[in-house]
């Protein structure tokens, strides 16, 4: 029996920022086996850069990116890759550009060749799925930070990707929206890789943790003991951290 090639594989990816002498990433290897992955690492360690390389926004100095076993080389390949991978930016303001929410969510499907009717249908159902019913005609740049994050997620989900790359999605979210996002992510069928400094968030949304350490991507031990401190939003009520 032959097994399917992994959806995403990185081989020996190296990258140096322009104008920097030492490389940021060196010989990064990764195979997407499990569906829900968390990615941690200090600020400036190259997490966002790695996502940009995967999406073909930055070109690695060396190494290969494989999508379902096929090496991505030219812009044409990456255009195909971008249909399967959705990238949620760290700053939602960078991601929303259409006047209304509906237009923004429909932008991707329209570009992928959906008819206006289909695009509208997909967008409305995506918004509904994220609990954003009634947001269709809202003006994107007037939404609150949390609403922007969820709408940005909708703009990506409406393209029905197979893998989500989420860059610090829980940043600056209030506890309620954060919980809502956790619930949404846990309910999605798609695989995801989440960059976050919020270990509790990762614990509730991911099954496997990777870290960028010494310019490499290393897998963390399955049951690593970690201590954490946090301020409970509602005082001393019992709470769960998930597994």
């Amino acid at each position: 029996m032959t097994t399917l090639p992994p959806l995403l594989e990185l081989r020996n990816i190296s990258y140096s920022s322009p104008g920097q002498s030492s490389p940021l990433l060196e010989g990064v290897n990764f195979i997407l086996r499990e569906g829900r992955i968390g990615l941690i690492g200090p600020n400036g360690s190259g997490k966002t850069t790695l996502f940009q390389i995967i999406m073909g926004l930055l070109k690695a100095d060396a190494g290969e990116i494989l999508l379902q076993g096929k090496v991505m080389e030219q812009e044409k390949d990456f255009r195909k890759l971008r249909r399967k991978l959705g990238f949620l930016f760290q700053d939602s303001d960078d991601q929303l550009f259409s006047p209304t929410v509906l237009e923004d969510v429909a932008f991707g499907p329209l570009n992928l060749g959906a008819s206006p009717e289909e695009a509208q249908k997909i967008s409305i159902s995506t918004l509904e799925h994220l609990g954003l019913k009634g947001f269709e005609e809202r003006i994107t740049h007037r939404l609150s930070g949390g609403e922007k994050k969820l709408v940005a997620l909708a703009t990506i989900l409406s393209m029905q990707p197979k893998l989500l790359l989420l860059d610090e999605p829980s940043n600056n979210l209030d506890p309620t929206t954060r919980e809502r996002l956790i619930k949404i992510l846990r309910g999605l069928d798609q695989a995801h890789i989440i960059i976050s400094h919020d270990l509790d968030f990762l614990a509730s949304t991911c099954t496997q943790l990777y870290a960028i350490q010494d310019r490499q991507l290393v897998r963390c031990e399955d049951k690593q003991v970690h201590s954490h401190e946090h301020i409970h939003p509602y005082g001393d009520k019992p709470h769960q951290h998930g597994t």
Binding site: R83, D94, P99
Partner: protein
């Protein structure tokens, strides 16, 4: 924030299709802009003023808008009577005031305000985004519509970046004064605003590419003009015809 306060509301004017309003505004503006008749200009001013009243703008905002435009006409009132010349001159103490100059200043004031009222009633009641789409559907080249929409979007970005930087400077005790330090700080602020807006524009472009953008904005379906829209258009065209016809009676 740059707001579109006039676009909020639910009057007859807000509900009209943007294309209809664009055509109506173009027709009325054309007549008012080209006329040199006092009667046409003042009738136009009254009619568009009535339209404006029907669109129920917030009075304080409205006054500020009208006031800022009339700052320019005030300037004409101050200069034209003294510089226009002509035969009809009235001496007023040591000033020679040209009656033709006064007449021209008054005519320009009426025309300006008529067009302003018309724009506030018909165009300001739509969002810029809708106007962009409306213009595109009326046959304006797609690239120009795209440019309009994105310039407008980018204006917000630049404004936000500037505010963010200004806040950062103020929080660290920066108080503008007439000093070299102030001018230097402002030049840094403007420079950084440009750099940051450029970077953001680049990230927005990346976000578009990631979602399959290849240079063509495909519009979502928008509602077709309804019967009321056509009736409204006919009404507006009648007004502009009436104005254009006044000199021939």
């Amino acid at each position: 924030m740059i707001e579109e306060p006039f676009a909020e509301g639910n009057t007859l004017f807000h509900r009209r299709d943007t294309r209809v309003k664009l055509i109506a505004a173009a027709a009325i503006t054309l007549v008012l802009a080209l006329t040199s008749s006092f009667l046409v200009a003042s009738t136009g001013c009254i009619l568009t003023g009535m339209l404006l009243a029907l669109s129920r703008p917030t009075p304080s905002l409205l006054l500020r808008r009208i006031g800022s435009v009339n700052l320019f006409t005030l300037f004409l009132w101050l200069t034209l009577p003294l510089t226009y010349g002509g035969d009809k001159i009235v001496s007023f103490f040591f000033l020679d005031i040209s009656l033709d100059g006064l007449r021209t200043a008054a005519l320009i004031t009426l025309k300006t305000n008529g067009i302003l009222f018309c724009f506030l009633a018909l165009l300001a009641t739509s969002t810029v985004a809708n106007l962009g789409h409306g213009l595109e559907k009326l046959g304006m080249p797609r690239k120009l519509a795209f440019l309009l929409l994105f310039s407008y979007r980018q204006l917000f970005v630049i404004h936000q970046e500037y505010q963010r930087l200004q806040r950062a400077a103020r929080l660290r005790g920066f108080a503008p004064s007439n000093s070299l330090h102030t001018y230097r700080t402002y030049s840094y602020l403007f420079g950084m605003t440009l750099v940051k807006s450029w970077n953001r524009a680049e990230r927005v472009h990346q976000a578009m590419i990631l979602r399959g953008f290849n240079g063509r904005l495909i519009p979502l379906n928008q509602p077709q003009p309804c019967r009321e829209d056509y009736l409204f258009l006919i009404g507006m065209l009648l007004i502009s015809l009436l104005l254009a016809g006044i000199p021939f009676f």
